[in-house]
Symmetry: C2
Subunit: 426 residues, 2 copies
């Protein structure tokens, strides 16, 4: 019987995964010093291969221009000497981070005299499925290696040539340090069916992390049989309370919406207490409009919008939308409970913020949220591994299992229990 293309993809991905699993066993026996040598060798190799990487990237850029890719996306895709150097330095920073592997999480001597410890160990083989920027290829590979794991990468089609070259350079650098090249591998050649095969390689792949838009996350949740960590969908809310300090609220909302759009921790809906709306919203909506933000306003907030602004009527869809653009849904709410109800109904569980000076209101809001991060009198843009002091970030988990919010190296480890006895039986 003829093989279908999905058979070919599955067999190809499983072959890659078996090699990765076997390479991961070798890495598991390496200490932190040896892993850091590999990371530093990767950083050096990326810099030494700047020319070939930038040439490969130029082919991606040319293809992107032909396909009519937007200037913004082309800029995210673009690599030059400076960006390669900055990627290499990020690798050196990961090498300098503390290694979570081997840390004892807890331990005790049991009543029967046995000693028990729970300690951190690598996951094994980690699959990453991501879109967009080629620096994620390097990030994912080195964070996996530092935490003792093999990485199987499935990158965005737009960066295919760049990723191919980067993976080649990384594999050679690993081998130069006497470790198996198969610790890092790409399955890009197997296309979309390869992605699905990766999510289903039970027994070979220990964890898959999708990093991308809601569509990718949904596909992974539906198709995956391998454990998954959902990341990065952020329908983020800022609630400005009756007791807000307007001098704090205005910059916080501006920062949350406009400092960087297209990121998961940017605000998408502004909720404003009706008692503060008349004194706060006119200046707020004027500032947002001036910054080019399209306002999707409910009837009550529309009354405070500037005549010159780009203001449209908010619909039910707006409350659910992660714009990732200079657009903001705006709603006036009756009180903090009304705000809480709205957020619990529409949130994706990423980050919510409250601006208020009232102790009890803040406490009630914080305790009522069901999201990874709740910010008080601070911008939602702080939800970030670097800002949180984790040193690096493999993604931002919006699920409740295993890791929540910004994920550092620890999220790529599991634990094992070691029980030491002296012939003990039950």
């Amino acid at each position: 019987m003829a093989q279908t293309s999905s058979d070919v993809a599955r067999e190809g991905v499983e072959r890659v995964a078996r090699r990765a699993k076997s390479a991961a066993r070798v890495l598991r026996q390496c200490g932190t010093a040896q892993k850091n040598s590999v990371l530093n060798a990767i950083a050096d190799a990326l810099e030494m291969n700047t020319d070939v990487i930038v040439s490969a990237n130029a082919r991606d850029l040319a293809a992107g221009r032909t396909a009519g890719t937007s200037a913004g996306l082309l800029d995210r895709l673009m690599l030059d000497g400076e960006r390669v150097r900055s990627i290499a330095n990020a690798v050196r920073n990961v090498a300098a981070l503390p290694d979570p592997v081997g840390n004892v999480v807890r331990g005790s001597t049991l009543p029967n005299g046995m000693s028990l410890i729970e300690k951190r160990v690598p996951m094994g083989v980690v699959g990453m499925i991501y879109e967009s920027r080629p620096n994620v290829t390097v990030d994912a590979a080195v964070l996996a290696l530092k935490s003792g794991n093999a990485a199987i990468l499935r990158g965005g089609r737009a960066a295919a040539e760049s990723n191919k070259e980067i993976v080649r350079v990384i594999r050679e650098a690993i081998e130069s340090q006497g470790l198996p090249a198969d610790l890092v591998a790409s399955v890009d050649e197997f296309g979309r069916e390869g992605s699905v095969a990766l999510m289903r390689a039970r027994g070979l792949v220990d964890l898959v992390i999708p990093r991308g838009g809601a569509g990718l996350i949904q596909t992974v949740v539906r198709e995956a049989t391998v454990p998954v960590i959902e990341t990065g969908v952020g329908n983020v809310h800022v609630y400005v309370d009756e007791a807000a300090d307007v001098a704090k609220a205005l910059p916080i909302v501006m920062n949350a919406k406009t400092q960087r759009v297209g990121v998961c921790n940017a605000a998408e809906t502004l909720l404003v207490h009706e008692k503060i709306a008349p004194s706060f919203l006119p200046a707020m909506l004027d500032a947002l409009s001036t910054a080019g933000v399209v306002l999707h306003a409910d009837a009550a907030s529309k009354a405070f919008a500037p005549a010159s602004g780009n203001v449209v009527d908010a619909t039910e869809t707006d409350w659910e939308t992660e714009y990732l653009a200079l657009e903001l849904a705006v709603k006036v709410v009756a009180d903090v409970d009304d705000a809480i109800e709205h957020i619990l109904r529409y949130t994706s569980g990423h980050t919510e913020a409250i601006v208020s000076e009232n102790y009890s209101t803040i406490r009630h809001f914080v305790d009522s949220m069901d999201s990874a991060v709740v910010a008080v009198n601070a911008s939602t843009r702080f939800t970030d591994g670097g800002e949180f002091g984790l040193g690096a970030e493999i993604g931002i988990s919006t699920q409740k299992l295993h890791a929540r919010g910004p994920m550092g190296l620890e999220a790529l480890t599991t634990t094992t229990w070691i029980l030491q006895g002296d012939g003990n039986v039950r």
Copy 2:
């Protein structure tokens, strides 16, 4: 268009789950003292309703006898006054455990002066799908409540009448304490399609824990879109090394295989170093045979089996089988690496044991395993929440995500990050 039975099940389960989610919001605001009052009220109510529970159980037993259920299974199903009392006391023990909710996992003051803490919060709504004994209905409900969660239960058909009565008693007890009865609900009435609907109730159910055989676990992994913790499949190995103290090895193997069969931490395969086989295996296999253990032996170990024993040739299937019975696969291995290769190939990742006095061999074995628990000179039967000092056990995780090995109350919580600023922006 006519509704299919799976539509009816889905709508029914989603209705139950929506009520559970709303009830969980109320529980989230309760302190430990109030949760403990509910647990103690449940314990009292179970004892006071012993008669109706035992009568309902008698109907299950009668149906089981009619259906030809084995005496062993009927015994596991059976409830009498003493067993109900013991279940009630187990509930009081859970009430006495420390509450993980609110514990601060970590925290720091960030360079910009903001304070950040990560603290434990309830998951929300936890689904439990289980087989067999009616005491699991009580266990699952009270462990969920203690950790601040609502529980949706799908029990085994054999215990349907008992479970129905137990859930009714629990719901009334919760209500008597002024909390919503919907914190604990059963979806047994929706049958198998109800189970599938429960695994797919994304956005309503935060976690599903299947507790049962390999068949149930596989169904959940295949069908679920809600996050899952796989539990309890134990293809457990004991390796007796060349340097083993035979006086420890013999009781450890006997205990691991025979102290209780039908449990996930019982040994299923014995691996013996070829150099110790002649001095160890004759007595070992004789003792096992005398205890009624059927030996699935490879050619080398068969030579040491007693003539009187029930010995069959091991096949490839035996290395993969979790017998859950008085049966044991036995194999002679060339050395510790041979044992490691065998285990890594066939293990379900639950528990492995080594019996040895050699420091370096033990260290190599422990570092090479990829299982939740590694026991050194101790029986595998110690893999248990109670033995590990966790106070209670919702199951034994054999996956690497979120929780590994015996799961206590903490495994039913997630965390949230709280960031406090003073108008901070990026």
